[in-house]
């Protein structure tokens, strides 16, 4: 029995360890193989900046969806990041241990709730409020931003909190010794010192917002037209795939994979930026 285990060579572990890399390569290769032919047929410029998405007419322009993605993500960041940063400062600096031990699992739970449930809650709860008090159809960029703001909270909170907690205690003691109040210390010493981690948390939050599909499908209205206000419905890159993948075929399906390429490239840039921010300490 002993010999059997010893004979499992290190190379087996090496092969297993390559699984993550090979899967990443497979994902990239297969999505590019499916999507690139359409992009080269339509033309890169026409695909990215085309204003009209009409698969039945052979028109594949995703610019309105890029605008939709940027608008919803920006809204989510504006609404979500301040709350998340305050919450991470709360957990790292102000919360009594008993309370933080209660809040942390709650935030973890927030991350675990299925995105469809958030979407549904938004549809039933947020959309009617917007429709009744602010006008428009309710299904809107604003509704999507609110739901995404909630959904990125756990990401931003947990990573910022970790980077605040990882600071050497000496920093805080030094500031206190100079007579700074707790808040002055946080604002002028701790937050600046943890900025690369905080930045990474925000970038990963952006990544989550850009990549979210099901919650956004339910509250965004999914119109393919270019939105003109935050009360207009819109469509994002992800929802474009989510909605049409069910029945698309042929060229139309390739166009959805091409949308996937754009999404993948954006996410890879964001991931790279976040990893760079973390390492740069």
């Amino acid at each position: 029995m002993k010999k059997f285990g010893e004979r499992i060579p290190q190379s087996l572990f090496f092969i297993i360890a390559l699984s993550a890399l090979s899967v990443l390569a497979l994902i990239t290769i297969f999505i590019f193989i499916e999507g690139v032919p359409l992009i080269s047929k339509v033309g890169f410029f026409n695909f990215i900046f085309g204003m009209k998405w009409a698969p039945s007419l052979g028109q594949y322009g995703i610019f309105p969806m890029i605008v939709g993605t940027v608008a919803v993500t920006l809204g989510a960041i504006i609404l979500g990041v301040p709350v998340a940063l305050c919450c991470s400062i709360f957990l790292a600096e102000f919360a009594p241990k008993k309370i933080s031990n209660l809040v942390r699992p709650a935030i973890q739970l927030l991350a675990g709730i299925p995105s469809v449930v958030y979407g549904f809650w938004g549809l039933i709860f947020i959309v009617p409020i917007i429709r009744n008090y602010l006008g428009g159809p309710g299904l809107s960029i604003l509704a999507g931003s609110i739901i995404l703001a909630i959904m990125i909270l756990p990401t931003v909170i947990s990573i910022s909190e970790v980077s605040l907690l990882a600071l050497p205690p000496l920093l805080k003691e030094g500031a206190f010794a100079l007579g700074a109040t707790h808040w002055q210390t946080i604002r002028t010493v701790l937050v600046p010192a943890a900025r690369s981690g905080i930045l990474a948390s925000i970038i990963l939050g952006i990544g989550r917002a850009v990549g979210e599909t099901m919650a956004v499908i339910m509250v965004l209205g999914n119109a393919v037209a270019l939105p003109h206000s935050i009360l207009d419905p819109a469509r994002t890159l992800t929802t474009n795939i989510g909605i049409e993948m069910g029945y698309a075929s042929g060229e139309h399906q390739q166009a959805l994979f091409a949308t996937g390429i754009v999404l993948l490239v954006i996410i890879m840039i964001l991931n790279g930026a976040a990893q760079y921010a973390v390492r740069r300490k």
């Binding site: 999505i31 935030i107 739970l109």
Partner: protein
């Protein structure tokens, strides 16, 4: 005008406390709303009957079975790969270019949107490998999706095993394999299990990736090659197409309860792990 630092501090503290309270209120608003609307629909019939008439009547037995089957496939495939990778990174090699590449890949995988996993699973497992819309395709896609979670949590768990344990095992004549099986795995088990439980949570909650790979069939699956529908997908279809609001709430409530249990389980394991390592 110069404001007293103590006043600014009080204001900042009030803002920060209210942000934390807002987060909790939002969480409870979502959970309590769904549970209060959905729990009344959860009856024995609801849990034990197959949906009929597109889900308008009947229960959710087949989505429950589908969820379990897809999740099981994902865990069975992802656990050995994830834990093996973690062992390679911690025990079998030094930090080098290749470990950097492996870590970078895992971190990149963690950021890929689930809809992109869905596209990949569809073109690779469903079409290219001819697995069709099936439990297997869905499970394999989810396995790829949760792989980074399992790698990261297992790696952390193995790293927190004190180096002394390894040294003692080696000094007693233990081989690398024996040390791994008899010393490292048992000490790191709570941490590894936490990763697996978090993975289960992600599988149960996932919609976009499974709807494109496992399909949305309402029949009870008979083999790994049967198409199926998970609870999250069932909920999505019921809610979006307005088929039955009552059953949608019931399904959502059951999902929330499952996620609650999964989180509680993971936290219990973490606290045991922390208690043990101190």
């Amino acid at each position: 005008m110069r404001v007293n630092p103590r006043t600014t501090q009080s204001i900042a503290k009030a803002v920060i406390w209210s942000a934390a309270i807002l987060v909790l209120v939002l969480l409870f608003a979502v959970i309590i709303y769904i549970l209060s609307k959905g729990i009344p629909s959860i009856t024995w019939q609801f849990l034990s009957q197959i949906p009929s008439d597109m889900g308008r009547s009947g229960g959710i037995l087949s989505p429950i079975v589908g969820t379990l089957a897809v999740t099981l496939v994902a865990i069975v495939v992802a656990t050995p790969l994830g834990v093996g990778t973690a062992f390679y990174l911690t025990e079998y090699t030094r930090e080098s270019l290749i470990t950097k590449i492996i870590r970078f890949s895992a971190e990149s995988l963690a950021g890929i949107p689930s809809i992109v996993y869905g596209l990949f699973g569809f073109i690779f497992f469903v079409i290219y490998l001819h697995l069709g819309w099936s439990i297997l395709s869905g499970g394999l896609t989810l396995a790829v999706m949760i792989l980074p979670t399992i790698i990261r949590t297992s790696e952390e768990a193995i790293r927190t095993v004190p180096p002394m344990y390894r040294e003692i095992s080696f000094s007693l004549g233990g081989t690398k394999w024996q040390t791994m099986i008899k010393v490292l795995i048992p000490s790191a088990l709570p941490g590894i299990s936490t990763g697996i439980i978090l993975g289960i949570g992600r599988c149960v909650a996932e919609t976009a990736a499974v709807i494109l790979t496992a399909g949305s069939a309402l029949r009870l699956p008979t083999s790994l090659f049967s198409p199926t529908r998970t609870m999250a997908v069932h909920f999505y279809i019921l809610a979006r197409e307005g088929i039955s609001l009552e059953r949608a709430y019931g399904t959502a409530a059951l999902l929330i309860i499952l996620i609650l249990l999964i989180n509680i389980g993971a936290n219990l394991l973490v606290s045991r792990f922390v208690a043990k390592s101190h």
